[in-house]
């Protein structure tokens, strides 16, 4: 019988993977944002569970901090910002949702193979690494398959989530200051990107990158 926080970690792993799959299905920005919110909360819970498992109090702090920032502040921020841009449904999906789903499944398989060769198939960390790697790849695929600038931003956020998740799962977290640094970095990144997006919209009347194919002086 697994210990209950093992179960929690295991569940949260499955849960964040689920949110990863959901992101590629949804055409609509609001849903993607919702997925990000859920995923961040899932990661925060997993972090807390790992902290409990290892008795590392700084992981609790990280869990609370990242839960609040990435599960509440950042999505709200981006949501308001999307409303101001007046973005509607993401209509131009290069790949249909069903096909993207199967591609995401394939990425999971690839992640499994990579993580097996990386950690060795006997290690218990295989699955955790696999999930994190799969989320990273799915985030990247998400960026590739969409043309909206906001989606690109979301893709980066997903990848960041995956990276921090992998760090926590694999090495029980770096010193708190490093994690905080990463968090801060993300916040600044979003700030810069959001300013850029407004500039792009001002200049081109569109934030669809598939229309931004010619260079402007």
């Amino acid at each position: 019988m697994m210990h209950w926080n093992d179960t929690l970690i295991s569940w949260m792993g499955a849960f964040v993977l689920l949110t990863g799959f959901m992101t590629v299905v949804f055409r609509r920005f609001g849903n993607v944002l919702g997925c990000y919110r859920l995923q961040s909360i899932g990661f925060a819970l997993a972090t807390a569970a790992v902290g409990l498992d290892l008795g590392e109090p700084h992981l609790y702090a990280l869990a609370v901090l990242s839960g609040v920032i990435k599960g509440y502040l950042v999505p709200n921020w981006i949501g308001g910002f999307a409303r101001r841009l007046g973005s509607r449904a993401e209509e131009k999906m290069a790949v249909s949702p069903a096909v993207s789903l199967f591609i995401a499944g394939g990425l999971l398989l690839a992640a499994h193979i990579i993580s097996r060769t990386a950690v060795g198939s006997a290690s218990a960390k295989v699955d955790d690494l696999m999930i994190a790697l799969a989320l990273l790849l799915i985030g990247f695929f998400f960026m590739v398959s969409r043309s909206h600038v906001l989606s690109h931003m979301m893709g980066i956020l997903f990848m960041e989530n995956a990276v921090t998740g992998a760090v926590v799962m694999l090495s029980s977290g770096l010193p708190l200051i490093v994690d905080l640094g990463i968090l801060f970095d993300v916040l600044v990144g979003i700030l810069v990107m959001s300013i850029l997006v407004f500039r792009i919209q001002g200049a081109f009347d569109s934030v669809d990158t598939s229309e931004l194919t010619t260079l402007h002086g």
Partner: protein, 320 residues
């Protein structure tokens, strides 16, 4: 001889329970859904009254129909009943009965096949429309149904439905694979029993019907039989969902002291009822919370369920 009699008694008890619970659950879902929407909702026993009403009505049959029309409800009923008897309800002791998982999935395909034919039989476009939609939806649902159950059954090595929980020997829902497979299975259950977001059971709007479209031409006792069949299918799938993924409280083997058996049976029945209440709440909330998906976005929902069950399979295959 003794096992034969015991088997017959168990069979009869199960049939009686089906006859009572299947309409009752339908009534509960409708009532609860009504409450959630701010209505009073129909009476809990309304499905029984409906059945009695249908039994008393005369039959109105289209002149365009052939033998398929009358045969389809009978075939569907027989298949669904057989499938329903295969699913363990309160006890996990071996059932002297081919409770094979693949057989179960294929038995559930019989009503779809027959009703799709019956929909085409009356020569109207609504029936045909519903048949073609049902075929398209079920084609996507069937692999997920099989795969999500397989992910739970495979590690144990047995494909017998009552052996699945025993083989897993713990709470499948607690593991990653079990959780993902349960979500996938629930998506398929929604599609199979024609509930929102796949089909709207309350509509008779001509152009959006799936299940209601196929039974549009039926009336009187045959319509009653079809509804009853559908309710049996509904309760069977719900029981399967809960008993496979949360096999808590089920009776294991009827050996030991007299009182112990009675006690465990009592516990099993109570947990069973609790599971059913949860199922009712789950369905009613889902139906109130969601709206009907666009017809061709069903592909996305079922594809999502399929990928989830593949992921579950990956976890199972790697043995975590």
């Amino acid at each position: 001889m003794l096992t034969g009699i015991a088997f017959a008694i168990r069979l009869l008890i199960k049939i009686a329970a089906l006859a009572i619970l299947a309409p009752l659950i339908q009534g509960c879902i409708k009532q609860f859904k009504g409450r959630l929407q701010g209505r009073h909702g129909p009476r809990l026993l309304q499905p029984f009254f409906d059945l009695i009403k249908y039994a008393r009505k005369e039959q109105v049959i289209s002149r365009e129909t052939s033998w398929v029309f009358s045969a389809a409800p009978l075939f569907s009923f027989a298949a669904v009943l057989t499938a329903a008897l295969m699913v363990p309800w309160v006890d996990r002791s071996p059932w002297p009965f081919p409770a094979d998982l693949i057989l179960f999935v294929y038995l559930l395909a019989i009503p779809r096949f027959m009703m799709a034919l019956a929909g085409l039989d009356a020569a109207g476009s609504f029936g045909g429309m519903a048949s073609s939609r049902e075929s398209a939806v079920s084609a996507l649902a069937e692999p997920v149904l099989l795969l999500s159950l397989l992910t739970i059954a495979l590690p144990g090595g047995s494909l017998h439905l009552e052996a699945i929980p025993v083989a897993a020997n713990s709470l499948p829902l607690a593991a990653r694979a079990g959780g993902l497979a349960a979500i996938a299975f629930y998506c398929v259950v929604l599609a199979e029993i024609g509930r929102i977001p796949v089909d709207n059971p309350d509509t008779h709007l001509e152009l959006t019907m799936i299940h209601e479209g196929m039974i549009l031409e039926y009336s009187g006792p045959l319509l009653g039989l079809l509804h009853f069949t559908h309710w049996i299918k509904q309760i069977t799938l719900l029981v399967l969902l809960f008993n496979v993924f949360i096999p808590i409280g089920m009776m294991v083997e009827s050996t030991g002291a007299w009182t112990a058996i009675i006690f465990s049976a009592l516990i099993a029945v109570v947990t069973f009822l609790a599971k059913m209440i949860t199922a009712i709440a789950l369905l009613a909330i889902t139906e109130t919370w969601l709206a009907k998906l666009r017809l061709f976005q069903m592909m996305d929902l079922l594809g999502f369920a399929f990928v989830l069950s593949i992921t579950a399979l990956l976890f199972v295959a790697t043995g975590v």
